[in-house]
C-alpha cells in the first residue's frame, strides 16, 4: 500500500487496462493529470494540436487495433472540443475512453473558470459517463468505463475528473485494480437464442434468392472468418455496408462491394430482389435502405445484432437473433448446409457485368484513379482512413479492402476532418503498417493542424487530397436537387497544400495528371519519417454514381449517363482490373516493412 494521488491512481488503472497510448492536450484542470504523466513510463502521451484531433485519433486507434482508444483534455473548452469526436465514436460503436479535467468539486455548478457540464453535454453521445467525486472511486470507475466501452455494442465512455479529486491522495495497492467486473444493470447478451439460430439455418436452406447484408458489427465482433465460411458454404453473395468493408476480401468472387445510396448497382439490385436478406451486424441505416418500406421488399429478414434495440428499430425481422455476431455465426455454421450456385447468383453476376464501376480515362486525373493507384501501389494492404464527402464514397467504391480494420471512415456521423487524425491514430496503433488518408480540399482544412502531430511523431502517413476546389458532395446535391444553385460550395481559394504541408515539416507533391500522380506516389512511398500530402487536382464537376437519392429506392437509382461508352473503353483497356486478378495485386505489395528504414 502506498499513498498516491488520484492522478497517479488513474494512470496506474489505465496501465492495468492495457493502455499504451493517450492522445491529449493539457490545460488548467488537467494539470494534476499531466503532472503525473510527466514521469509516467508505462504510457506514451501523444500531444495533439486540437482536442478534436485527440478524440478522432483515439477513435482511429481503436478501429485499427480493436483496442480501446484513450483521449485526454482539460475542462471546459478542452472537453467540448472532444464532443464531435465522441459523437463520431458513438455513432460507429467505437470503444473510446475520454478523460476530461473538471473544476474542483466545490465550485462545480458555479460557472467557474473553464467549467462545462461535460457529463451533461455528452450523455446523449456516450454509452455511459462518470463524474468522479471521490478519489476512492477511481479504480472502480476506470474498470467500469473500459468494461462498458469494449463489451456488448462498444462505444465511448467519458470520465470527468475534478481537479481536487486528481490531487487527493489515497492508500492504494496498484495490484488491486479490479479485474473482471460485474455490473448488475449491464449484462449484454452474447449468445444467440438456440431456436432462432435453427430457424435462421432453415430460412437459409429454404431461400431461393439469398444475399448477405453485413456491417460494422461483424468487423467489431471479429467475425470475418465466419462470414467468409458462411458465404462460401452457401455460395451466397455478400453486400457490405460502409462500415462493413473488409469483412470479406473485396476481391473475393462472392463480394458485391458496398450497397446503399452510393453502393454498387449490382449490390443494390441483389438486395432489392432477394427473397432472404441475411443481415449481420447492421442497423438498416437510411443511407442503406433509402425508403425502408421499399428496401428488399420481398425478402424475409434474418437480423443478427448484439444490440436488442437495433432489432426491429427500422425493419421487423422474421428471424431476430440478439447476440455477438461471431458467437452466433459459429453456432449457425453448425446447422447450415452447402447450397448450389443457382440462376439467381448468375443473375447477380450479370448485373455486376452490366453495371460495373467505371470512370473516364481521358488523360485527366480522377479521384477513382487516385484511389486505385494508391491501392495497387500498397498491395491493397494499407490501412485507409478517409474524410467525408465525394472522395469518401469513391473510396468506398474503389478501395478494395482485403481484411477487417483496414478501412477507417466516419460512417454514422459523417464527420469532415476525421480522416487525418484517424490516420494518425491508426499509424500509432499499427506502426508496421502503411497508413493512407484520402481527404478532400474541404475536409482536410477541418483538422489540418494535426499535420504537425504527424511530423513531430515521424508518422509517414500519405494523404491524398482530392482537390476539386469545391465542397463536392454538397455541390452534387445542389446540382441534382436544388436546380444547380451552387450556394457556398466554391473553395477556389484554398491554401497551397504543397507549401502548407512543407510548412508543417512534411513532404508535398502536386498531381494534375495520372502520370504526375504515379510519380508522386512513387516518391511518397520512399518517405518514412514524416507525413506526405499529394494535392490531387481533379475536375470539379464530377458526381458520385451510382446514386439512389435520399429516401428513395433502387428503381430511382441514377447511373453515369455515359455508362455504356465508359464500359466499352474499359473493356478495351487490358490493364483494367478483374475480380480474379490477384497476382498483379500481390506483385505490387509494398509495406513499411519492405521499405528501407529511414534514419
Amino acid at each position: 500500500m502506498a499513498s498516491m494521488s488520484g492522478a497517479r491512481v488513474l494512470l496506474a488503472c489505465l496501465h492495468a487496462q492495457g493502455v499504451e497510448h493517450i492522445f491529449g492536450y493539457p490545460g488548467g484542470a488537467a494539470l494534476p493529470l499531466y503532472d503525473a504523466l510527466y514521469d509516467c513510463r508505462t504510457i506514451r502521451h501523444i500531444l495533439v494540436r486540437h482536442e478534436q484531433g485527440a478524440a478522432h485519433m483515439a477513435d482511429g486507434y481503436a478501429r485499427a487495433s480493436g483496442k480501446v482508444g484513450v483521449c485526454l483534455a482539460t475542462s471546459g473548452p478542452g472537453a467540448t472540443n472532444l464532443v464531435t469526436g465522441i459523437a463520431n465514436a458513438y455513432m460507429d460503436s467505437v470503444p473510446v475512453v475520454a478523460i476530461t479535467g473538471q473544476v474542483r468539486t466545490h465550485v462545480i455548478g458555479k460557472d467557474a473558470s473553464q467549467e462545462a457540464d461535460i457529463t451533461g453535454i455528452t450523455a446523449p453521445i456516450t454509452k455511459h459517463n462518470y463524474l468522479v467525486k471521490d478519489v476512492e472511486d477511481i479504480p472502480r470507475t476506470v474498470a467500469e468505463a473500459f468494461h462498458i466501452a469494449r463489451t456488448g455494442r462498444p462505444g465511448p465512455v467519458l470520465i470527468d475528473m475534478p481537479m481536487d479529486v486528481s490531487l487527493a491522495t489515497m492508500d492504494w495497492d496498484p495490484s488491486s485494480c479490479p479485474g473482471d467486473l460485474d455490473i448488475p444493470s449491464y449484462r449484454p447478451r452474447t449468445r444467440g437464442h438456440e431456436m432462432q439460430i435453427r430457424k435462421a439455418a432453415e430460412a437459409i436452406a429454404a431461400a431461393e434468392r439469398p444475399v448477405f447484408y453485413v456491417g460494422g458489427g461483424a468487423i467489431i465482433s471479429g467475425a470475418d472468418a465466419e462470414v467468409r465460411e458462411l458465404a462460401e458454404r452457401t455460395n451466397t453473395l455478400v453486400a457490405t455496408t460502409l462500415m462493413g468493408k473488409g469483412i470479406i476480401d473485396e476481391t473475393h468472387r462472392l463480394s458485391l462491394g458496398m450497397l446503399g445510396m452510393h453502393g454498387t448497382a449490382y449490390a443494390n439490385h441483389a438486395v432489392h430482389n432477394c427473397d432472404l436478406l441475411i443481415s449481420i451486424g447492421v442497423r438498416f441505416d437510411d443511407r442503406v435502405t433509402g425508403r425502408p418500406d421499399r428496401f428488399a421488399p420481398g425478402a424475409k429478414v434474418i437480423h443478427i445484432d448484439i444490440d436488442p434495440a437495433e432489432i426491429g428499430k427500422i425493419r421487423a425481422p422474421d428471424v431476430p437473433i440478439v447476440g455477438d455476431v461471431r458467437t452466433v455465426l459459429i453456432e449457425l455454421l453448425k446447422h447450415v448446409r452447402p447450397r448450389e450456385w443457382s440462376d439467381w447468383d448468375d443473375q447477380i453476376v450479370e448485373w455486376r457485368e452490366n453495371f460495373p464501376l467505371v470512370y473516364p480515362s481521358d488523360g485527366r486525373l480522377y479521384a477513382e484513379y487516385v484511389i486505385e493507384q494508391l491501392g495497387s501501389a500498397t498491395g491493397w494492404n494499407a490501412v485507409m482512413a478517409t474524410d467525408v464527402g465525394q472522395h469518401q464514397m469513391w473510396a468506398a467504391q474503389y478501395y478494395r479492402c482485403r481484411r477487417p480494420r483496414q478501412w477507417i471512415t466516419s460512417g454514422g456521423l459523417g464527420t469532415m476532418g476525421y480522416g487525418l487524425p484517424a490516420a494518425i491514430g491508426a499509424q500509432v496503433a499499427c506502426p508496421d503498417q502503411r497508413v493512407l488518408c484520402l481527404s478532400g480540399d474541404g475536409s482536410f482544412q477541418m483538422c489540418t493542424q494535426e499535420l504537425m502531430t504527424a511530423t513531430v511523431y515521424k508518422l509517414p502517413i500519405i494523404v491524398a487530397i482530392i482537390n476539386n476546389r469545391s465542397l463536392g458532395m454538397v455541390r452534387q446535391w445542389q446540382e441534382l436537387f436544388y436546380g444547380e444553385r451552387y450556394s457556398h460550395v466554391d473553395l477556389q481559394s484554398s491554401p497551397d497544400f504543397v507549401r502548407l504541408v512543407e510548412a508543417y515539416g512534411g513532404a508535398g507533391f502536386r498531381a494534375t495528371t495520372p502520370a504526375e500522380f504515379d510519380e508522386a506516389v512513387r516518391q511518397a512511398l520512399d518517405v518514412t519519417d514524416r507525413p506526405v500530402v499529394i494535392d490531387c487536382v481533379v475536375p470539379t464537376a464530377e458526381n458520385v454514381y451510382p446514386m439512389i437519392p435520399a429516401g428513395q429506392s433502387v428503381d430511382q437509382m441514377r447511373l453515369r449517363e455515359n455508362l455504356e461508352e465508359l464500359k466499352a473503353s474499359v473493356d478495351a483497356d487490358s490493364e483494367s482490373w478483374s475480380f480474379d486478378d490477384e497476382d498483379r495485386v500481390l506483385e505490387a505489395y509494398v509495406t513499411l516493412k519492405t521499405t528501407p528504414e529511414g534514419d
Binding site: 446523449p124 454509452k127 455511459h128 434495440a309
Partner: protein
C-alpha cells in the same frame, strides 16, 4: 420533438404505464428524461421515488405509443447502464393510482354541492378559506379526470397531480 408533459394529442396511440427500476445515482433522472426527449417519445407523466431498497429508485412513466414505439422505449431504456429493469404494465394486471390536489372556488352558495362531489369521489377537503377549498383526491387517472371535470364549473384555481404510480397485483414484483 421532445418529451411533452401535456396530454398527448395522438389519441390513436395506447397509453402504457412502465416501471423503470434504476440505480439511485445522481443524474439518472436526467439520463432517462433526456432519452425520451431526444428520441421523440411522449411522456404523459413521470414519477420517481425511493423504493424498499435505498440503492434503487423507481420511476413510473406513462407514455403514449403503439407497440413498436413501446418496444423501442423499453429497449433504449434497457441500454442505459443505470437502468436495472423495465416493466411494461400494459399487459399485466396492475393497480394504478394517482393523487391530485385541487384548489377550487368555493363560494358559500356552492359549498354543499362541492362537498357532495367530494363525498361521491371519496376525496378529502384538506384546507379551506372563505373563498376556496383544497381537495385531495386519490384514484385512477379516469377518476381524477372526472372530478376535475365536475369541479371545473366552479372554477379550479390550481391543480397539481402526482402522475401515476403502479404496482403489480398479487405476489409478483417488478
Amino acid at each position: 420533438m421532445g418529451a411533452s408533459l401535456t396530454p398527448s394529442v395522438r389519441t390513436g396511440d395506447d397509453q402504457h404505464v412502465i416501471t423503470v427500476l434504476v440505480v439511485n445515482h445522481p443524474g439518472v433522472l436526467a439520463r432517462v428524461a433526456g432519452l425520451f426527449a431526444r428520441r421523440g417519445y411522449n411522456i404523459e407523466s413521470l414519477t420517481v421515488s425511493v423504493t424498499e431498497n435505498p440503492d434503487v429508485s423507481r420511476m413510473t412513466i406513462v407514455v403514449c405509443g403503439d407497440h413498436l414505439v413501446l418496444e423501442q422505449i423499453t429497449k433504449q431504456l434497457n441500454k442505459l447502464i443505470e437502468v436495472i429493469r423495465v416493466v411494461d404494465y400494459a399487459e399485466t394486471q396492475a393497480v394504478e393510482r394517482e393523487l391530485a390536489l385541487i384548489k377550487v372556488n368555493a363560494e358559500p352558495r356552492n359549498r354543499s354541492e362541492i362537498m357532495q362531489i367530494v363525498e361521491v369521489f371519496r376525496a378529502r377537503i384538506i384546507d379551506m378559506s372563505d373563498k376556496t377549498f383544497v381537495l385531495e383526491v386519490t384514484g385512477s387517472v379516469d377518476k381524477l379526470d372526472k372530478i376535475a371535470g365536475l369541479l371545473a364549473g366552479y372554477g379550479i384555481r390550481e391543480m397539481v397531480r402526482t402522475g401515476v404510480i403502479a404496482m403489480a397485483r398479487g405476489a409478483r414484483t417488478a
